[in-house]
C-alpha cells in the first residue's frame, strides 16, 4: 500500500492489541514476536482494517486472536492456502501468515512451496523453534539430526530443512531471518517484508521455553551473539563482531569469515550485500552459513522483484475486459451458437 493518495490513519501499538487473553507459556519467544509485530504495524502505512492475519495450527498459529485486525485461524498446514485466497480475492489487503516449523515445513509443506513459487504478495512469519510445541515435544522437520525428543527417544535420524534454502529452491523472492531476542531487528525486518511486493518469508529463530529451551542459544546468547550473527543490510558491507571488526569474503565458491587487518584482509576485501540480485547463488551461500565456521546471517538476505501473482491477475482481467464485447451474463448466454425454435 504505497498510496500517498489514500488517507492513512495514525496508529499506535495499542490499536493492534486485541481483548483476548494471550495464552502462551511464560517466557515463550512468541511474546516478543507479537510485540514486535504490534510495534511494526503502525509504521507500515496501512490502515488497520486492511490487515488480515491468517494462521494454521500450533502455538504460533494462535497469533491472529491476539492482534486486533481481521483474521482467520485455519487448519494445520493450510495457512498458505488461506492467505493465497484472501490476497487473490482482495489484493488491496495486507496479508500476514503466521506459522511454525511443523505447520509449514511438514503438514503444510506443499502449500508453503507453492505460495512462494507463485509469488503472491503475502508476508510469512515462520516461527522456527525446531520442535512441535502445542502437541508437546515431538521432533519437527527443522529439528537437528540426532536430537532427542518424545518421538525420537534415541535421537532423530532425519535431516532437517533449512527454511531459507527451501524457500529459494521454491523460487521465493524474499527471505529474511531474525531472532526473537532482538525486537528492534524483528521490527525493521517486518517493515521490509511489508514493503516487498511478492511473498516475503521471515524466519524467526524462536525459543520454546518448555520443550526445546535454548535451542538457538549458540546464536542468541548475549556473550556470543555479536560474533555469531551477521546482520545483513542491502548495499552495506557484511560486517560483524562487537566492533564490526570482522567481515565476510568470497574465496572460490565459499564464504569465509575474516578479521580486518589480519592475514592481509582489508575493508576493501569485504563483500557488499546485494539482496536484489536476480541470481540467487549468493543468497543461498548466505542463508546456508552456520556455526562454528561462519556466523549465522540475519536481516533481509534476499529481496528480488519480479512478477507478482495477484497484480498479474488483476492486470490480465483488465486486459481481457478491455478487449471483450461480453460485459455481463446476458451477453454471455446469448453469445456464440444459439437457435431460435
Amino acid at each position: 500500500m504505497t498510496d500517498s493518495i489514500k488517507n492513512i490513519k495514525q496508529y499506535t501499538r495499542k490499536d493492534f492489541v486485541s481483548d483476548q487473553e494471550v495464552k502462551w507459556c511464560a517466557g515463550c519467544g512468541d511474546f516478543s514476536i507479537l510485540s514486535a509485530v504490534q510495534n511494526a504495524l503502525p509504521e507500515m502505512g496501512v490502515n488497520k482494517e486492511d490487515f488480515v492475519f491468517v494462521s494454521g495450527i500450533g502455538c504460533s498459529s494462535r497469533f491472529p486472536y491476539y492482534v486486533d485486525t481481521y483474521g482467520v485461524h485455519g487448519l494445520h498446514g493450510r495457512a498458505a492456502a488461506i492467505a493465497s485466497g484472501v490476497k487473490v480475492a482482495n489484493p488491496k489487503l495486507s496479508v500476514w501468515m503466521m506459522t511454525g516449523d511443523g505447520d509449514s515445513m511438514a503438514i503444510g509443506g506443499n502449500h508453503f512451496i507453492h505460495i512462494l513459487r507463485r509469488n503472491i504478495d503475502v508476508n510469512i512469519v515462520l516461527f522456527n523453534n525446531r520442535i512441535y510445541g502445542l502437541t508437546k515435544g515431538q521432533y519437527s522437520p527443522t529439528t537437528p539430526l540426532g536430537h532427542v525428543t518424545k518421538t525420537s527417544p534415541y535421537g532423530t535420524i532425519e535431516h532437517p530443512f533449512k527454511p531459507g534454502e527451501l524457500a529459494m529452491g521454491a523460487e521465493g523472492t524474499f527471505y529474511a531471518r531474525a531472532v526473537d531476542t532482538n525486537p528492534k531487528m524483528m521490527k525493521e525486518i517486518f517493515i521490509e517484508a511489508e514493503k516487498h511486493k511478492g511473498t516475503s518469508l521471515v524466519e524467526v529463530l524462536q525459543n520454546c521455553v518448555i520443550f526445546n529451551n535454548k535451542t538457538h542459544q549458540e546464536i542468541t546468547a548475549k556473550d556470543v551473539r555479536d560474533d555469531h550473527q551477521v546482520y545483513l543490510k542491502h548495499g552495506e558491507k557484511m560486517l560483524f563482531g562487537k566492533e564490526k571488526e570482522k567481515g565476510l569474503v568470497l574465496e572460490g565458491l565459499k564464504l569465509k569469515a575474516v578479521t580486518i587487518g589480519e592475514d592481509g584482509y582489508t575493508m576493501d576485501d569485504i563483500l557488499v550485500h546485494d539482496a536484489h540480485d536476480d541470481d540467487p547463488t549468493m543468497s543461498f551461500l548466505l542463508a546456508r552459513m552456520s556455526l562454528p565456521e561462519l556466523p549465522v546471517a540475519m536481516g533481509v538476505i534476499r529481496a528480488y522483484r519480479t512478477v507478482v501473482y495477484d497484480q498479474a491477475l488483476e492486470q490480465q482481467i483488465e486486459e481481457v475486459k478491455a478487449k471483450s464485447n461480453i460485459k455481463n451474463m446476458t451477453d454471455l448466454v446469448n453469445s456464440g451458437h444459439t437457435f431460435s425454435l
Binding site: 482494517e49 484472501v86 487473490v88 455481463n328 446476458t330 431460435s340
Partner: protein
Amino acid sequence: MNNSVKFAAIFFNTKLKMVAKNHKIIELDKVVVKFAGDSGDGMQLTGTQFSDTSAEIGNDLATFPDFPSEIRAPQGTVAGVSGFQVHVGHADIHTSGDLADVLVAMNPAALKYNLKHCKPSSIIIIDVDSFNDKGYKKAGYEIDPLTDKSLDAYKVIKAPITEMVRLTLKETGLDPKTIDKSRNQFVAGMLFFMFNRDIQGGIDFLKTKFAKKPALVDSNVKVLKAGFYYAETIEELATTYVIKPNLNKKGKYRNIIGNQATAWGLMAASERANLPLFLGSYPITPATGILEELAKHKELGVKTFQAEDEIAGVISSIGAAYAGNFAATSTSGPGLSLKSEALGLAMITELPLVIVNVMRGGPSTGLPTKTEQTDLLQAIYGRNGEAPIPVVAASSPADCFDWAFEASRIALERMTPVILLTDSYLANGSELWKIPDIDAMPKITTDIVAANDDSYLPYNRDEKTFARRWAHPGVPGNEHRVGGLEKSDGKGSVSHDPQNHEKMVYNRAEKVRRVADMYPKQEVLGKKKGKLLVVSWGGTKGGVYTAFSDFEEKGADIAFTNFNYIYPLPKETEEILSNYETILVCELNSGQFASYLRSTFPQFNYKQFNKVQAQPFMVSELKDKFNEMLEA
C-alpha cells in the same frame, strides 16, 4: 469395389446436384445415433456436428460422450474406443437414449465395444476398409464378424470410407494423415442424407469449427458432400428418415454441456449477488471442465486459482470467502474426500461457499470417466464432528445451471457451505437449454456488515434464518477473527465452555434445517395416492421420468417424485411418502438415498432399484422394474 466405382462415377463425372432416387421417407419420433471410433477419429466432433444441426432444425436432443480415460490408448483396440451418443427427437428428450438405432463404427474395435449398445435391427455403418485381419486382431476378434452371421440381425452398411476419402482428396496435396482424419465427415455426410438434412448446416458447422484453418474447411466440406452423395447412391439406403421439429420447445435455445452450465450458474449467481466470483480448484476428471470454463471468463472478472492440490483448492476458496468474494470449488469424489477437513472449517466459520462435486465411479480412483451416484452419503455425513452442510443435486446437463445458482443462493443468503452434486453423465452430456433472462432471475441478498457497525458481533444470528452476518476485511470498524476452534455464541471468542459448545452445535444445525424454508413445494407427478411411488434424485431423473411417463400414459397406479434438495429434505417429504404403499428408490449406487430416507422416515415401505455399473440407467430396465413392482 463395386460401390466405390459407382460412387466415383457419380462424383467425378456428373455435376454436384441432388440425384432423385426413388426412396421411401419414414417419420420418426426419436432416434439414437452412436458414433464410435478411435480416440483420434473425431467422433466427438461429428457427434456435436450432428446434434447442433439437429437443434438448428428444431429437434429436442441430449448427448453423451463416452471416452476412454487414456488420452490415446493403442489404436484400434477396444480400450481406445471413443464414443458419442446423440438422442434427437420430435418428442421431448430426457436422456441420451438407451440403445442405438444407428451405430457408426469406424473400426472393428468400435463395433465390438458397441454392438451390445445397439437395438436389434439397427443400422450399422462401418468403414469396411478397416475391417481387415490386422483390425480384427487388434480388436480381439477371432472370427471375422462380417462373415460369421453375428451381424445378421442388423442392417450393416459396408462403406469403403477410407478408400473414398483418399480418392476425394487425392488432388488436394494434403498429407495422408490429414486426409484420413476427415473420414468422420464422410460418415457425417451419409447421416445428413439418411435423415434428410440440409447439408448446408454441416458445412456451416465446419466453417465455424475450422475458422482459423480454411484449408481444412475446404477438404472437410468435400468429404462431407462425398459422403452425402455416396449415401444417395447406394441401394442399402433406399429408405431415409425425417424427425420433425419439437413443438414444445419455443424461444431461443443453445446446446449446453453440464459442466459449462454449472460454471455459468455460478457466474450468474455472482452477478445477481453483485459479488466477484473466485474458484479455487485442482484439475480432476470429470470436474475439470468447470475450472476450464471459468478460467475463460476474465472478461467478467472471474478469478480462477488452480491450486497445488484439492486441499488448497477448497482452502483458498475459504480465504476468498472470508475476504468477501463469492467463492466456490469444484471436484470429484476423491477430491471431496481430501476436502472433508476443510468443509468442517467452512462450516464452523459459517462462510458462504459452493462445493461442486461431479460424481464419478468409485471407490478410490475407481472409474474416473464413468458416472455414479456413490458420493451421496459422503456429501451428507462425511466430516468429523457434527458438521451439517446443505446438499443439492442437479438433474440434467442444462439444469446444472439452475442448481449451481440455487446452491449459491443458499450459501450466500444463509452463510453456509453448500455441496452441489452433479455426475459425470450430466457433466459431459449436453442438451438444449432455453436461454434464461438473467435480469429476471432472483436477486441474491447478502447481509454484509457496513463500516463501523457497533452492534456487529461475528456470531450473532438473524432471528428468522439463524445465519450470522458477513463482515469483509477492508471495511473499518468490524475487525474480527474466525477459525476452526469452537466459538462463543455471539462474540465469537475461542470457547471451551461445554454449554456453549452444545448450544453452538444446535445453532448451526438449526440454521441448516431452516434452509428448507427457502424451497418451493416438492413436486409429485401421477397418482396423488396409491400403490407405487418411484423416486429418483439428481441425475437419474431423466431416465426414471421417461419410464414413469410411459406407465402414466397407460393409467397405471404410479406416481413419481425427484429430489434435488437432498439435505435438508423438503418439508413435504414425509407427507408425500405416506401416500403410497410402496416407495421404489432408483439410484446408481447400492442404496444410499434409500438408506437416508429409511433412517429419516423409518415408518414407510421402501424398495430399491440399484445399478452400480458406472453407467446410467436404461429406460428399458427401469420399465421392467416398474412393471414387476406394479404386478406384485
